[in-house]
Symmetry: C2
Subunit: 218 residues, 2 copies
């Protein structure tokens, strides 16, 4: 078996991760000073993160929400969120496949946190690197879609180990896909006992349960 | 607008990319010496890369194919490919969200290239980092699924600029998803004029056209 032990840049990456962790602690202090809860949404491209955020924000009219959007080059997702009349800060990562705590700290400086209950961070569409970079969030939330297949807990165990909740999106597609829901759930349970919410963000199915969890988390 | 200019490790990443490029050139020479064509398949998690490779290999009984599988921790995809009786080398990336040319070079050392016409590399499920790392392949192939949405050419233009062909997978889902095919295709055309093959890897629909292109590419 060939392992990634040939990775030449590992010591450097380690230093980057350590520095990232220090700034993440600062971010957590800043958030706690204003009693703001920050969630870091992690999922692959097209898993339905933006649509989930839209559905979630609509169900939280009694809370003040701000959004940080991580995107490579475009403002597509930010434009969608802006229509909900919540503050949005876009971080263009210009080729990076994850967000880092320093960029989030700078983004938070553009938001009046005294006036914000929740910050939702939509990370870059990717299941690997975003998981490794602590942004100072209070919880990582895994976003997986039915159409991606049921093998994600086995392939990306770190995400499920670190996440405090998992959203299974596009559940209306369950009848059309060879997605073994029992296997998906039991593979997650083997890693960690975390709540899994089945949602259809377009119709709103299941969103109420997820939002209830969110309220209790705050 | 907050840009990713705060990226502390950019000079390091540049050096990593330069070193990667040098090894990629070596890999290309090694492949050319044995007249082996290598393709680098890039797509998000669950875009259907492994299923596409299975369908493609079945349609190429007259060619000798080997597969390099990039995966974080599991051998799930390699096991599937092995069932087709083609040589598979697995690269466990242990947390890296892309493959690098050095690992591919080591993987190629495990394959008797004199006996191989095509090497298919299944990169880590990600649309960002794998695009930036030249593996010494003759072509990058973009793999996008209908269920991920039609916004990918706008969000990940670099992949479409560098790819020599694009596969749109899970096309049987077109009637059930709000996927604007015209927009997807015209957004690709704005970036580069490359062939786009609509396929359903499970039923085999559209696979013949793609495989025809593959034969002519060789």
């Amino acid at each position: 078996m060939l392992k990634g032990v040939f990775r030449v840049e590992i010591p450097v990456i380690k230093r980057v991760l350590e520095r990232n962790e220090m700034v993440a602690e600062e971010v957590r202090r800043i958030l706690d000073d204003s009693s703001t809860v920050m969630l870091n949404f992690i999922g692959g491209p097209g898993a339905g993160k933006t649509t989930l955020l839209e559905a979630t924000i609509r169900m939280l009219p009694d809370y003040k929400v701000a959004v940080i959007e991580g995107d490579i080059t475009t403002t597509t997702d930010s434009e969608r969120i802006k229509k909900l009349n919540v503050p949005v800060v876009q971080i263009e990562t210009e080729g990076s496949c994850h967000l880092e705590s320093l960029w989030v700290k700078r983004a938070l400086e553009k938001i009046d946190l005294r006036d914000v209950d929740f910050v939702f961070v939509e990370n870059v569409g990717n299941l690997v690197c975003p998981t490794e970079f602590d942004l100072g969030e209070h919880a990582k939330i895994g976003v997986l879609s039915v159409t991606e297949g049921d093998d994600k807990p086995r392939k990306y165990p770190l995400l499920f180990r670190l996440a405090k909740a998992v959203l299974l999106t596009k559940v209306d597609m369950l009848p059309y896909f060879n997605f073994n829901e029992d296997r998906f759930l039991s593979d997650i349970r083997k890693i960690k006992d975390i709540p899994v919410f089945k949602v259809n963000s377009l119709t709103g199915d299941g969103i109420a349960n997820w939002v209830e969890w969110l309220r209790s988390f705050r």
